[in-house]
């Protein structure tokens, strides 16, 4: 049973006010991204010039490339590792102490403020640099950092899917003499797929959303879009920046709507089955 009353004003007004509060800043950025005036804040007419200029800005293109490489590579690695970890954690009889340690390792990045994690990685990479030059700040260190916090989130999402699907089908497959590889490929993987895809999309979103960890682990040649924007704001704002921010916002909207649709579909599938 849900709420009974229709739309009392004392709920509607705060709710829409919150919405305005959340969207007004991005709306302002969007408006300025199509404003023809280069300086000042007056409305000088509609233009798409700033969007066009983005395509000619080599720094922006470079940062976009780095952002996408970082997000895609780290998401792929984290999805594989997180899924395997979730299966390993929930499908085998771990002694209590092991279980505690596993939980600790997985939940640690979820409950630590990201800046502490970033600081720990700066120190670790600093020490590892003495061993290998591969740990110099750059895309590799950023990928490692992103994978590390993404694993936890993928594992959590896949784990909840593992709980949802239960073990009956698995048991039935075993009763019919399925061996482990067959079971994984033909029974668990198809059942887990919605969870894995949702986990991957969450990891991808988190990677795009991250600034602090990237900022701490980035090198001079591995500037990502958020780092580029952060640096640009310090140097002085240009209309191109508004266009870039608006594009990133729109991309995020598409991503979140896709993720939401996916989650909705997977729960509906559950209700039917």
């Amino acid at each position: 049973m849900g709420m009974r009353r229709g739309k009392p004003l004392w709920l509607t007004v705060p709710a829409y006010a919150a919405l305005v509060f959340l969207y007004l800043p991005m709306l302002a950025v969007g408006v300025f991204s199509v404003n023809a005036g280069r300086h000042g804040f007056g409305w000088k007419g509609f233009t798409l010039e700033w969007y066009g200029r983005l395509l000619q800005n080599s720094q922006v293109l470079e940062a976009t490339r780095n952002t996408l490489i970082l997000a895609v590579v780290s998401t792929v690695v984290a999805t594989v590792l997180g899924t395997v970890l979730a299966i390993g954690m929930s499908r085998f009889p771990w002694p209590r102490r092991w279980r505690g340690f596993l939980d600790f390792a997985v939940y640690l990045p979820v409950v630590t403020p990201d800046i502490i994690f970033a600081a720990a990685l700066v120190v670790a990479f600093g020490l590892l640099r003495a061993v290998s030059a591969a740990f110099n700040p750059g895309l590799l260190t950023m990928v490692i950092a992103h994978v590390t916090f993404q694993i936890a989130f993928v594992a959590l999402v896949v784990h909840s899917r593992l709980v949802t699907i239960g073990r009956t089908l698995e048991e039935a497959a075993r009763d019919l003499y399925a061996d482990t590889p067959y079971l994984l490929r033909r029974v668990m993987l198809p059942l887990l797929m919605p969870g894995i895809v949702a986990g991957a999309m969450l990891a991808f979103t988190l990677s795009l959303d991250d600034f602090v960890i990237s900022f701490f682990t980035a090198g001079p040649d591995s500037t990502t879009l958020p780092i580029f924007i952060y640096a640009s704001v310090r140097r002085g704002v240009t209309p191109e920046l508004h266009a870039l921010s608006t594009l990133i916002f729109l991309a995020t909207v598409l991503l979140v709507l896709g993720l939401e649709r996916l989650m909705w579909l997977s729960t509906r599938q559950e209700a039917k089955g």
Binding site: M3, A18, R91, P113, A124, T148, L208
Partner: protein, 329 residues
Amino acid sequence: MIESPEQRGESPIPEHGSGGGARRRGGGVSRLLIWYGELTTQRRLSLRGVAFILVPMAWLVGFLILPSAALVAVGFAERGAYGEIRWSFTLENFRRLLGFGLFDWSADYLWILGRSVWVALVTTVFAVVVSYPLAFFIASRPPRRRYLWLALVVIPFCTNMVIRTYAWMLLFSQHMPFARLAHLLGLIRAETSLYPSVWAVYVGMVSSFLPFATLPLYTSVERLDWSIVEAAEDLYASKRRIFFQAILPQTFPGLTVAVILTFIPAMGVFVVPDMLGGAKTMLVGNLIQQQFGASRDWPFGAAVSLALMVLTLAGLFWLRRRGEGAEWV
């Protein structure tokens, strides 16, 4: 001897199963057992489990647990003349954090710590106050509409924080209506923007962390048992009493989670005070960034990070004790 696992779902760990015959201690590692339809032994099962978690756990140990340990160790080390780490065991960094400088005592760093806790608390309170009616509103929508509203709350949150914070800078800049309004009201001088200021930081932080408060509250509100409210109404309870005794206690679990989820990131925030705040609103996050960036004093930065961790954990512990029985999402 063949046994089947007891208590499926709840506790699939045979060693801790409390059902009859499931309690086995030590030895018997290679005993046959049926594990969800598969005839196997403890040892084979353990080996397979280890094979599954080996690589991901090695990754987590290598890039999460050992780095955290290194951070702790560096917090007790010294900074060399060129910013390198000189390994030793000293409490100097923590003494410095407590204000004991080279010459005399100053409370600067303690102020930063205290301010961070305060700003995080205020942010949490604001986020909860905004989220509470919002959660009730969303729960009162038809199911399809609820998903839309939840997505609307989450979308800005998934946009990069630098972009969101910059958007507030734009909105608060001197030529925009807000700054002009503030000027007309005599709050600021002409031709000044609304940032850097504490209020700009609060606005930026609340808008950044709002979904952390809204989503758990919504989960609680959605499950609210309205028959209790009806019972209270039948007994002629006043509206005030209905809210405080029939509605609010039911939302405590969601409220606790909301407070925890907002408080943790708010404690460690660095982007918002960096962009919207000035020197007067320096928070722990900025101090840490400074040490690892411009100052290149890793040992002190590590010590500040440890202090932040301790403060966060203390806050969590306190909240958990207050919100006993909270449901974890």
